[in-house]
């Protein structure tokens, strides 16, 4: 899976120069937040690679699990070693389509609400995802944002007994892609 996502993105990046309808970022952001009465946990990955095709609406992103930055080392170590098993499953990603991309005028500044559907892969588990996103077009570039809910148990995150009650059953995930036209 990890190499498949990488190769797809690499091909997409390689053909950018001959295909002007693509928008890319290497500094997309994915952040998650877990709230329980015992503990709040948040982390942010600021080096997410993503490609958006403004004609077809095909969008994908991939990220390194070890790229998540936590407020302290202990949380980060627990996440990588116990929950995400980041050495075994180093990459995660999404591949899908913005189904109503035609409503976005990429040549005119504006804000658009769009719908998307696709598949998200975490720890080699792939699940269908649907949602809405906001695309802000400004000066020829585009920023896409979306909020989704993710259940760690859906993606084989095993929570040890000592951490039960400290990690929410459902996490809030923010996705922010600062695309530049190439």
């Amino acid at each position: 899976m990890k190499n498949k996502i990488f190769l797809t993105l690499l091909v997409a990046f390689t053909i950018i120069n001959v295909n002007a309808q693509q928008y890319i970022t290497k500094t997309g952001v994915v952040k998650f937040f877990s709230h329980t009465t015992l503990e709040d946990i948040k982390a942010e990955n600021r080096k997410v690679v993503s490609v958006l095709d403004s004609k077809t609406g095909i969008m994908e992103f991939t990220m390194l699990m070890k790229g998540f930055d936590f407020p302290n080392q202990l949380m980060e170590d627990h996440f990588n070693e116990s929950y995400a098993e980041s050495s075994k499953y180093p990459k995660a990603g999404f591949k899908g389509t913005i189904t109503d991309i035609s409503k976005v005028n990429f040549s005119k500044d504006g804000t658009y609400t769009v719908n998307y559907t696709g598949k998200m892969t975490l720890k080699d588990v792939t699940k269908d995802i649907t949602g809405t996103a906001t695309i802000v077009v400004k000066g020829g570039n585009a920023t896409a944002t979306s909020k989704i809910k993710v259940k760690p148990s859906d993606y084989n995150f095993k929570i040890p007994a000592t951490a039960v009650g400290k990690i929410s059953d459902e996490m809030d995930v923010d996705i922010i892609m600062d695309y530049k036209k190439k």
Partner: protein, 141 residues
Amino acid sequence: MKKKLAIIATIAIILGIIALIVVKYKYFTNGHNDPLQSEDKIYITAPQLYALYSQFEDSANHKYNDSVISVTGAIQSIELNGDRYTVALNSNDSNGAVLCEMDMLENEKIKKLKSGQQINLVGYCNGILIDVQLDRCKLAE
């Protein structure tokens, strides 16, 4: 006997306080270990690091992920993303670079750098997507 117990108790309390300070410093103050203080740095150039990851990803992951890397190279680009800088080092390969997300404490120093300049950065290696990614990087003196 009482004096001996008192001495042992005092030593135990002092050791306990030291342990708490160490744990607090390591995990709960400014958050993370300082890569510059690591005694296990791996020294490599940006082109060498990128070539190893792009050609032998699995073995490079095994050898370099989570390690403190002291990487030397020429600045390809500097971008401010939110509250911190990302410095890309030239890999001599048009497919990718060595992308170093800088520690926010380095912001003032980064402002003085210029594209093309040779620098030495120390940070934690996470792996490769399009670029090899390093986190929490600091400028080596």
